[in-house]
């Protein structure tokens, strides 16, 4: 029988993979994909809690909002990555290094 625990484990795994990707990836697009994993981990949590423990549709509505916000965020982020590419011909984050100190 699949219960809320199984969903939480999947979500925790997604979250960990996302954080791992954030820390290890150097390509800006891969980093954005890792961030999507983190957001979707939260979504799985929200929907699972809404279905199994909390009752009501609050969690599912929250998840729907998160999906929309994530899309907006990626739109802005990709525009910025595109500008990075135009200015330096690379999507590699290690090359963005003029600001430091």
């Amino acid at each position: 029988m699949i219960g809320v625990g199984h969903y939480l484990v999947v979500a925790a795994a997604l979250f960990s993979l996302g954080v791992l990707g954030l820390l290890t990836r150097r390509n800006a697009v891969s980093v954005l994909m890792s961030i999507e994993l983190i957001l979707n981990a939260a979504n799985v949590n929200l929907v699972a809690f809404s279905r199994y423990s909390a009752g009501g549709l609050g969690g599912q509505v929250f998840a729907a909002f998160v999906i929309v916000v994530a899309a907006a965020e990626v739109a802005v982020a990709l525009a910025i990555v595109l500008t990075l590419y135009r200015l330096r011909r690379t999507p590699n984050l290690d090359d963005a290094d003029i600001l430091k100190g």
Partner: protein, 497 residues
């Protein structure tokens, strides 16, 4: 239906800003020659109208929730809204596309639309009473700030700054969201009063770990907004890469809104109000956690600022250090702490915007943000140097400047709770900070150099604003009664529950 009509009546400041935003976008798309001037006027007008509505809210003493509990209307939210709208209005009026060399020749409409969107989202964040609203408002603040930082499109520094900002921000708010989802799972509700009810009922030991993890993750989001260590890495780069007026705005608005929601979250959900010090609920000692963050923030900010020569970076580290002092108000977990936070924010607003205005004006005339180009300013621009001196002394926290009273409030609140060591660390930090603020002052007044350069010809408007910031750093001290009353009145909501 009744809820909706009543909500709209208390939603006037936000409505004014939203309408102003639409008007700016419309006017900007007409392509008439004077649209730059018009968009700025519309932005200033809608901020002024919003300010009037906030004052009306405050005078009416409105209490309650809007839109089925999504937003809170109480004295605390109104007080934060006053600071936020005032910050937006001062920035729009004191800074312009004329006096910022970086913004010369760029389209104005988009930036003013973004400014209005930023103020609007900060108002929503400061009043959020539900985890959904909290997350949406936080993301709206973030998205508008990312775009504002990237405004200098062909500039590599601006691009790099916004890239670092968005990656860092998305990671922080993502982690925060994961934490919020755990809170939802525990309490079965997304409303902050619902969370308070749940935690007040006592948390079973089995859930302790989950609460602790969720709090830590939520702290990532708040910490990112207020630029607290260890979520501060974006701050110096973003402040340096963004156009200076944008930096000035970002140094006040998201920080103030982040502190407002942190206060609302920690006081409103994770503690139980009482007379005097409050009780913790949820079984975790979050003030100790925040105290650690606050100590690290002020120490790292101040130590890193010591060696900076770029004025924007220096002010960035200084703003990180001030975030540490501001957090003292939340750590105190008392009404005096919350009051100290409000007073500190109001003072921080004038001293920080004033310092950024001086930096902008020097860059307009000399084209440099480098402290090594600052010698001789005393002779070339006496008024500007005097205004900078007042802002810096206020940032140090010396009497008779407003920064002194701000520090007095938060330190008193912390000492009152018996956290003497914490206050001592704060005092040592204030002394370290004095070193680099005085260093800037020394370079401007005593150091020799730039003898051949002509005096700065400041525009009349800029001179007027310098005088304004100069006075704003001193005069309030002699009319303290209303400010004290304002800050005291802001806590009505918490005392009443």
């Amino acid at each position: 239906m009744h809820d909706l009509t009543r909500s709209l009546a208390w939603f006037r400041p936000e409505t004014a800003l939203a309408l102003g935003l639409l008007a700016v976008v419309l006017v900007d798309s007409t392509l008439v020659a004077w649209r730059g001037f018009a968009t700025r006027a519309i932005a200033a007008a809608s901020l002024a109208v919003a300010l009037g509505f906030v004052l009306e809210l405050q005078a009416a003493g409105a209490q309650g929730t809007l839109f089925s509990g999504m937003l809170a209307v109480d004295a605390l939210a109104s007080a934060f809204k006053l600071v936020l709208v005032a910050a937006g209005l001062l920035t729009v009026l004191a800074f312009s596309f004329r006096n910022s060399r970086e913004l010369h020749g760029l389209g104005q409409g988009e930036l003013y639309a973004l400014v209005l969107a930023l103020v609007l989202s900060c108002l929503l964040l400061a009043a959020a009473n539900d985890l959904v609203m909290l997350y949406l408002a936080l993301e709206m603040v973030s998205l508008t700030s990312y775009v504002m930082v990237a405004y200098l499109k062909g500039d590599r520094m601006s691009n790099e700054a916004s890239l670092k900002y968005i990656l860092f921000g998305a990671a922080s708010t993502g982690s925060m969201l994961y934490g919020l989802s755990i809170f939802y799972g525990l309490a079965g509700t997304t409303s902050l009063p619902g969370l308070q009810e749940y935690f007040a009922g006592g948390v079973p030991d089995a859930n302790r770990f989950a609460v602790y993890t969720a709090t830590l993750l939520a702290l990532a989001g708040f910490g990112f907004k207020v630029a607290a260590v260890p979520f501060h890495f974006w701050c110096p780069d973003v402040y340096q890469g963004a156009a200076t007026p944008v930096t000035a705005l970002l140094s006040v608005l998201p920080k103030a809104a982040g502190l407002a929601i942190a206060l609302r979250f920690f006081y409103g959900a994770l503690s139980i109000p009482r007379q005097g010090p409050w009780d913790l609920s949820g079984g975790i000692d979050w003030p100790a956690l925040l105290m650690l963050v606050s100590v690290l923030t002020m120490t790292l900010g101040n130590v890193a600022a010591l060696t900076q020569t770029n004025m924007k970076r220096l002010l960035a580290y200084s703003s990180i250090a001030h975030a540490g002092f501001l957090l003292m108000g939340i750590v105190a977990l008392s009404e005096n702490g919350a009051r100290g936070l409000l007073v500190y924010l109001a003072a921080y607003l004038v001293m920080n915007l004033g310092a950024f205005l001086v930096v902008t004006l020097v860059h307009l005339h000399d084209g440099s943000f480098d402290l090594r180009d600052y010698p001789g300013l005393y002779r070339r621009a006496p008024l500007l140097t005097l205004a900078m001196a007042f802002c810096l002394l206020s940032l140090v926290g010396l009497p008779p400047f407003v920064g002194f009273l701000a520090k007095l409030y938060v330190f008193a609140a912390v000492i009152e709770q018996g956290m003497g060591i914490y206050a001592t660390i704060g005092a040592v930090n204030a002394a370290i900070a004095a070193y680099y603020y005085f260093k800037v002052l020394k370079v401007m007044t005593i150091d020799a150099g730039n003898e051949e350069k002509p005096p700065l010809r400041l525009a009349l408007v800029d001179q007027a604003w310098l005088v304004f910031f100069l006075l704003a750093n001193v005069v309030p001290l002699f009319y303290w009664e209303p400010i004290e009353a304002w800050a005291r009145g802001a806590l009505v909501h918490y005392a009443g529950r």
